[in-house]
Amino acid sequence: MFRRTLLRLLVVLTGLAASLPQAWALVEININKGNVEPLPIAVTDFIAAGDLGQRITDVIAADLKRSGLFAPINKQAFIEKISNPNQAPRFDDWKVINAQALVTGRVTQEGDGRLRAEFRLWDTFAGKQITGQQFYTQPENWRRVAHIIADAIYESLTGEKGYFDTRIVYVAESGPKTARKRQLAIMDQDGFNARALTNANELVLTPRFSPNRQEITYMSFEGNQPRVYLLQLETGQREVVGNFPGMTFSPRFSPDGQKVIMSLQQEGNSNIYTMDLRSRTTTRLTSTAAIDTSPSYSPDGTQIVFESDRGGRPQLYVMGADGSNQRRISFGDGSYSTPVWSPRGDLIAFTKQSGGKFSIGVMKTDGSGERILTSGFHNEGPTWAPNGRVLMFFRQAAGAGGPQIYSIDLSGYNEQVVQTKGFASDPAWSPLLE
């Protein structure tokens, strides 16, 4: 019963009604903010030594809550105390507090020191188990296990992949605006486990993940030579991408991870190039006396969306992966920048500058169906969660302060700040590990 309720919710939000069975296609499409009724769910403390079970439970509940699709019930309201998570719970005790789903679990330490985490997800109104899974990990990865369990719950109840076991690379900023220090940093999607990837001595911008999550491509002003770099996350090894005769910037990986696409600045013009990481061959894709930048591949690798001011103000254009058939897709008021193709392939997110405001929006890949998700003094640089349902971006208030990263649902609902220690900008969401 509740499963269908939630599926309806997703139908409403993503406009996939036509592809779903008849009964669901009758749901009215209405994407007003606050329209979503989060699903009440009870996440009980996992049975474990010490407070580990509670800590894992708290991470799971926080993930589910932040998604905006779930409303974890306050533990104080629980009637039944779970002592054996493998035994069917007293469903009536959970129904009476309106918990439509229930999570129970246990964490034990194996002989080899690893943690074994198991959980069960119950449908309280149907009175049966929906799924039960177990995972093994090193004790220091306890947060990651919690995120993986949260993903399993999310996927079971929504039918869509989760995005909690993911990371964000971003630019950590500190100091006054006129002498701002910037470092690359990485954190879990919930803001925890943040660490710096570069020191604060050089200006770094626009980090982006490779499809296998092992590498970052970014721009650095190291040695006063602004260029695109690769960074191996595991080893910390860095290298310049290509040997270009000018500033290279705005890098991004191709979906197969074999190429980096970027802008090359020469005199007053910037054009889009790719470099094949194995053969080291470079290919020029655009050739205009204009600024062509912010390229982003479609997930199948056949098309590229980018930003160009060849028509006057910055607008969005799409071309084939070989540079063919370049055509403008954005025609609204103002200018459009930083397009990013959705992992699902059906939408393009962008920054829109209009009427003195900076907004984050999405449009279909032909430029139709534009929707603004959030708007204000300065919002910039969207990045997609790997399931294409949530975006992050950065927001800057007027004046002397600094930027912060926010997340927002594709519906424009559930906007939340991502807690970072200092200022933060240029978020890039990692893919899911399979």
Binding site: P176, K177, T178, R180, R182, L203, L205, T206, F221, G223, N224, Q225, P226, P245, G246, M247, F249, S250, S263, Q265, E267, G268, N269, S270, I291, T293, S294, E307, D309, R313, P314, S337, T338, T351, Q353, F377, H378, E380, G381, Q396, A398, G399, A400, S425, D426
Partner: protein, 178 residues
């Protein structure tokens, strides 16, 4: 307008941090924001650094104070304005008189654009500045350029008077660019 209070607060912070801005805002207060011609182009216009004439001819200070090391641009534009051309004419004369200096032209943008576009816009401003100086006889091989986009503002506030100070190209004696 609700803006009335916040820019003042922004200016107070700027003033506290940067004495040069006091004179700048005084100038703006007298000239009015819309009057580009009266924008100060360099520290000399602000009456700082001991004033004109105090610097040794051919020195860094001479260049900054008596010639003017920076020009300003209109929003989203890389066209060299008439007031900027006058500054660049002085720069070209000075650089021809002192041929030992190589220069780097730093291009900058204000914060009212996206990061990546502004990197390109700053580069375009630096290139326009270099082309103008070349047209006035400064050899191309003495000039390098670099763009910092919107990442290195000199003025911090939330209104037009301040953004216009950040849309600039600064000629740095020596410096490091590409």
């Amino acid at each position: 307008m609700s803006r009335i209070h916040s820019p003042a607060a922004g200016r107070m912070q700027t003033i506290a941090r940067n004495p040069a801005m006091i004179a700048l805002f005084m100038t703006l207060a007298l000239a009015g924001c819309a009057s580009k011609k009266n924008m100060p182009n360099n520290a000399g216009d602000l009456g700082l650094n001991g004033g004109a004439g105090a610097a040794t001819p051919g020195s860094q200070q001479d260049f900054t104070v008596n010639v003017g090391d920076r020009i300003f641009f209109d929003t989203d534009s890389s066209s060299v304005r008439a007031d900027a051309a006058a500054t660049l004419d002085r720069q070209a004369q000075w650089l021809q008189r002192y041929p030992n200096y190589a220069i780097t032209i730093e291009g900058h943008a204000d914060e009212r654009g996206t990061r990546e576009y502004n990197l390109a816009l700053g580069a375009r401003r630096a290139a326009a500045t270099r082309q103008y100086l070349a047209s006035r006889g400064v050899p191309a091989n003495r000039m390098k350029t670099i763009s910092y986009g919107k990442e290195k503002p000199v003025a911090v506030c939330d209104d037009i008077s301040c953004w216009s100070q950040n849309r600039r190209a600064v000629t740095v004696l020596g410096g490091a660019g590409m």
